[in-house]
């Protein structure tokens, strides 16, 4: 038995978040309901401090530790920071929503923090086991969050669907992982990649067999067609504050999961998974964009739009080039920021007993509050990919990556479907600016508090990143290429 004490230093942010989560859990147990703001403040402080730690420890080198089950590289650092930032925004947006509905519980933030920890583990996973466990940690927290508002039957139903389907996906993932383990004899990502390179032809079929299961599980997590069925029901059924959470940061983690599993682990089988991702990407673009048109609930509409966005993320990855990965990473970060703003706007417009989750609720917003109508316009434009918002550069980058990989037809398909998709985003814009508000909510919207400020910054950031895309682009390039 020759075992060395592992190097704990690279995992300090994870340990810090875990420690704080446990600490806050204990503190929260002793707080009266009126003092939940302390929990909130502590959780936000934890995120800020974790971001500080991660940034402080950031370095260009790749460090493996815990018997190579944990990896810290530039991509991990940057994605973790992105997760902190989006989670911070999400908690900030969620607080007024929870308070108005009398469900301002410490568990929301604590489960959220555990979910963040799960995402961090996924991002830094370098072993099938850690990747899976991180995913489970995230999923379990998400299930609980969806069911968190117990008085809402819709939320409970959504949680049930999410849980059962998620369990099915986990089963598929484990099955796939066991196949890969059986063929390569290792759980270590790097070893698997090396074994695959060395593997002879005869192993190809069983490996692809395992690969199919992995791809299906990833597709489920990201919500790609045809493994997307949970997305609209869960987004719609969950309280908006929770939708806000599960629609944003976990996508970043799922991207990292995909990168670790498919690109770093199964990289030598790129030719095989490229085809699968193409099928999923085209289906997601088509189904996501087309069905979104028929929606009347804005939460469902955004859910289908998420599905379409996943198609774009896949396009960047399946190109199989470094710039493709970087563009997909750019896309997913941009998506997380934009979606946070979009769902945040729903929270902003809702009150107790009124959810503002129908598209009609946005009618005449420009009359009720021109500034926030403008912010929503920026967010919608970014989702539709209208320059000069950042969404345009995100779409441009992934389409460029696909074209660069000689998949011009895929680029054309993507453009066609984003044009179709533009319809339903612009329809909301049209309703905001050209329709009269519904009678029951004709009074002006009074902006107040941190939510309004953060939402404004969120919307303007989408514009600013679009005018100056260089910074984020170079960060993602640095993360992938070094």
């Amino acid at each position: 038995m020759n075992f060395e004490i592992p190097n704990f230093l690279p995992a300090v942010p994870e340990m810090f978040v875990l420690g704080m989560a446990c600490l806050i859990l204990v503190i929260d147990a002793f707080l009266p309901d009126s003092r939940r703001d302390i929990t909130y403040g502590l959780v936000q402080a934890t995120l800020v401090a974790a971001a500080g730690l991660t940034l402080w420890m950031m370095g260009p080198e790749t460090v493996l530790t815990f018997s190579d089950t944990f990896v810290k590289d530039p991509m991990a650092d940057i994605l973790k920071v992105a997760v902190y930032v989006t989670s911070f925004l999400v908690f900030l947006y969620a607080r007024p929503y929870l308070m108005e509905r009398g469900i301002h519980k410490g568990e929301f933030y604590i489960l959220g923090l555990f979910a963040v920890l799960g995402m961090m583990i996924m991002i830094s996973g370098h072993n099938l086991l850690t990747l899976y466990l991180g995913l489970e940690l995230l999923s379990l927290s998400s299930y609980a969050l969806v069911a968190f508002w117990r008085d809402s039957t819709r939320a409970t139903e959504a949680a049930m669907k999410y849980f059962v389907l998620g369990a099915l996906a986990s089963g598929l993932l484990l099955y796939g992982m066991s196949m890969i383990y059986g063929m390569t004899g290792s759980l270590d990502i790097a070893v698997i990649a090396a074994e695959l390179t060395a593997a002879d032809e005869s192993l190809n079929i069983p490996l692809v067999f395992g690969l199919v299961f992995l791809v299906v599980a990833i597709a489920f997590k990201l919500g790609a067609v045809p493994f997307h069925m949970w997305v609209p029901d869960v987004y719609d059924g969950a309280p908006t504050a929770v939708t806000l959470f599960i629609a944003t940061a976990p996508k970043i983690a799922a991207f990292a999961f995909l990168m670790r599993l498919l690109v770093e682990g199964m990289g030598p089988m790129h030719a095989d998974w490229q085809g699968m991702l193409i099928i999923l990407a085209v289906l997601s673009l088509a189904v996501g964009n087309v069905i979104a048109i028929a929606q009347t609930s804005i939460k469902r509409m955004l859910a289908y739009s998420t599905i379409a966005h996943v198609g774009f993320v896949f396009m960047g990855i399946l190109a199989g080039t470094d710039s493709g990965y970087a563009s997909a990473m750019f896309y997913v970060i941009v998506y997380a920021i934009t979606a946070a703003g979009g769902f945040g706007m729903i929270v902003f417009l809702s009150r107790k007993g009124y959810e503002a989750d129908q598209i009609d609720d946005f009618k005449g917003l420009a009359q009720r509050n021109p500034w926030f109508a403008f912010i929503m316009l920026l967010l919608l434009f970014s989702m539709a990919g209208v320059p000069p918002t950042v969404g345009f550069y995100a779409k441009l980058a992934v389409i460029q990556a696909a074209v660069g990989a000689d998949l011009v037809w895929l680029g054309v398909v993507a453009v066609i479907f984003s044009v179709i998709g533009a319809f339903y985003y612009l329809r909301v814009v049209k309703m905001m600016f050209f329709d009269a508000p519904k009678d029951e909510n004709a009074e002006p919207v009074q902006p107040s508090g941190a939510l309004a400020t953060a939402l404004s910054i969120n919307g303007l950031a989408v514009l600013a990143l679009g005018i100056f895309p260089g910074l984020l682009l170079s960060i993602t390039h640095y993360a992938i290429i070094g």
Binding site: F220, M229, W230, I279, G470
Partner: protein
Amino acid sequence: MDTIYLLIVLAPLFGAIAAGLFGRQIGRTGAHTVTILGVAISFILSVVVFWAHVFGDAGIYNETVYTWMVSDGIHFEVGFLVDNLTAMMMLVVTFVSLMVHIYTIGYMKDDPGYQRFFAYISLFTFSMLMLVMANNFMQLFFGWEAVGLVSYLLIGFWYKRPTATYANMKAFIVNRVGDFGFLIGIAALVFYAGSLNYTEVFAEAESMRDATITIWPGWTFGLLDLALIFLFIGAMGKSAQVPLHVWLPDSMEGPTPISALIHAATMVTAGIFMVARMSPLYEFSVAALSFILIIGAITAFFMGLIGLVQNDIKRVVAYSTLSQLGYMTVALGASAYAAGLFHLMTHAFFKALLFLAAGSVIIAMHHLQDMRAMGGLRRHMPVTYVTALIGSLALIGFPFFSGFFSKDAIIEAVGYSQIPGATFAYWLVLAGVFVTALYTFRMFFMVFHGEERYDQAHKYMPDHGDDDDDHHHDHGPLQPKESPWVVTVPLVLLAIPSVVAGYFIGPMLFGDFFAEALFVLPEQDVLATKGETYTGVIAFVLHGLMLPAFWLAMAGLGTAWYLYMKRPELPGVIAERLKLGVRILEDKYGFDRFNDWFFAGGTVRLGRALWRYGDALIIDGLLVNGTARSIGWISARIRHMQSGFLYHYAFVMIIGLLVLMFAYVI
């Protein structure tokens, strides 16, 4: 140095933002204080920069400040290239702009859009500085479009007047035609050189000379010729060369300070500046130079002729601007870039002076612009009179005034030029001198001398249908008086360089002032030929007295005096005799009519036809609504797949898994 350059550019931008977005909060005084302060900072720093570059030992500054993005290896950047040429342009732009800012306090004092106006002109100063300081085509194009935009906004400043909105749309659309060419030109250069940076493109100039481009099988052009002619088409739009000149006279609908700043001194010279900046490219394309030469000569002469029949004081100055821009263009075509720039500088001073003087007259006449209702103003407005006289003498090229040096240099340079079209151009610019003197002093005598005709004011009062300035209709007989100091001080300050700027001819034309910035092939260097005989200012003047240009100018002055002072009834008689000629001139050679009928009308007709058959029927009917309807139909159908049943969902997942498995495993 970086900070200074950044500060020069950003100070006016800050002023514009402050006055534009927070105009209501900071009030009128706040608005003009902050913008004038911004431009004054720019001006003072420009002087510092000019000093450092011309008299100090500051080398050429060529650095990228910010990289906006990189696409396909082409860098989109913001960067500054500062050499003597840029330093001169910065000085001219900021100086004239500062003068106009101060002047505006007096000119616009009753206008409700006071803050907006200051925001616009400060924004203009920022854009123009971005343009001249650019070190790459992207930023050049940004500045180019930004000044165009501000020009559009300012021409239509009094947006309630239909004529003003017509004029600003015209300016914008005509400029768009030019910009289209400009963009094609830039694209062609970038396509070949693979870079937007001046230095890198210039480095390819020699190799580009032999490159050709085939647009259509059988149509092969020299790449450089094509690119440069297209670039020059952009310059024709901005610098109002025939046939894209039509917008400039109409632009006089804008407030007079704008006519001085944008449509005389700075923006319209952007085209001249651009061609000079691109001299390392233009030198290698005789075809492009020849094209420039001929266009310039036509503009110089024929636009001057129109000036003879105009009665609106600002329009006379406007046509004179067109004609002078033609002179500058001719200089560029003859490879005498330095002479063109020299004229650009002197013209900026004396034409701004003339415009502001005209503005001063207009204030005194209570916004009346028709010269037929003026006369004898010299008694009432001594300062305006003297400064206008200085400006006029400079314009016609009277010895010892700045215009004399620059114009003579151009004419002689054209005389020495050997490229095709040079002889044609030479005779036109020579004849133009006579015309210039004639219309300039026609205006001068009609305004400042002769009998006072204020009682006819009501006849020529423009009917703007504008509520803002109907206060002057109720006045009794006009009593013109000298304008306030904020108006006259800029006049005096501009009069000084109008006289003395010419004395820089030695270093600027024949010295090495522009040696680093401009590039001239030895065999085309007409200024060097001229420079061989140059011994000093006095000798230059004495030599000029022997040349036909001087005598033609004197003849023009004399004719004007005879026709408008001695025998005021004669012009009417002559007009009667030459009815056809006057008609043609008053019709401005029919450009406007042709444009309205062919381009505007034709476009409308074409658009209507396309709308009816192409858009309404095929695109809207079949493609758009058809697609939308069918997608909506599909969407409504397949949304039912989302049944809400858990086992359906799980089943779909399993099916998906099976499909993937069958597709890839077996």
